[in-house]
Point group: C2
Chain length 109, copies 2
DNA sequence: AATCTATAACGCAATATTACGATAAAGATT
DNA sequence: AATCTTTATCGTAATATTGCGTTATAGATT
């Protein structure tokens, strides 16, 4: 088919997958890293920073926004993008809570 | 095009993106969660657990293995899959090290 | 008002993903 | 050796992603 059978999984699984998927492209990782370290978060600065066309960056920003990982705010002529901390923390926590103790009990691998 | 311009980004960015991408599907999230909590990690148990065809699960396992997030070991007739802790910890650390202090200084969003 | 600047949306081509039935391969069981 | 069990691979259809040129849109500047 090509469409993921999201209905078969829990809301949380779908939620985390959506955010992880958004982080699943080097350009979007680079955008997030830029937003984390930059003094400004004007869209145009991202376009200048990355080796991709403006249209492509805009698309990646849309994907990150759709996943809830960034927010955009109109700032006069341009748009200011920022990390959406609430959701980024959710993703962060998900990974932080992965516990390997159970795994270590097994001997198969 | 459809092919990501991975050459334009750092090795780490590509690496993290590859792993995040692997986590970017609810079925693969479910597989990882199953491996974390299950007593066994036999491939067939995953197939029984998830609402997807065996061929599809096999494909997802391949994606996770390719990203380095799981390992597979032949166990007689069947295959034992386990979390690849080394790389899972890498992904975990990446998110753990995200620091929002810089972000909070900004007022745009 | 005309023009500039910044960003999103449209349209398209190339490629990748998702899903699954069917088949292959390889070890286990009879 | 024939069969069963388990898993990977192949082929295929549907859909999604990636990238970009081009075009809209909307606020800023002249």
């Amino acid at each position: 088919m090509g469409a993921s059978k999201a209905g078969n999984f829990t809301e949380k699984q779908n939620d985390i997958a959506l955010m992880a998927k958004a982080m699943g492209h080097p350009a979007r990782i680079a955008i997030i890293e830029f937003l984390l370290k930059a003094d400004t978060c004007i869209c145009n600065d991202i376009v200048s920073e990355l080796p991709l066309a403006q249209a492509t960056i805009s698309q990646h920003l849309k994907a990150l926004k759709n996943a809830g990982l960034i927010k955009g705010n109109i700032e006069g002529n341009s748009i200011c993008y920022c990390i959406n901390e609430k959701n980024m923390i959710k993703l962060q926590s998900y990974f932080a809570n992965i516990n390997f103790k159970m795994t270590q009990k097994k001997e198969c691998c």
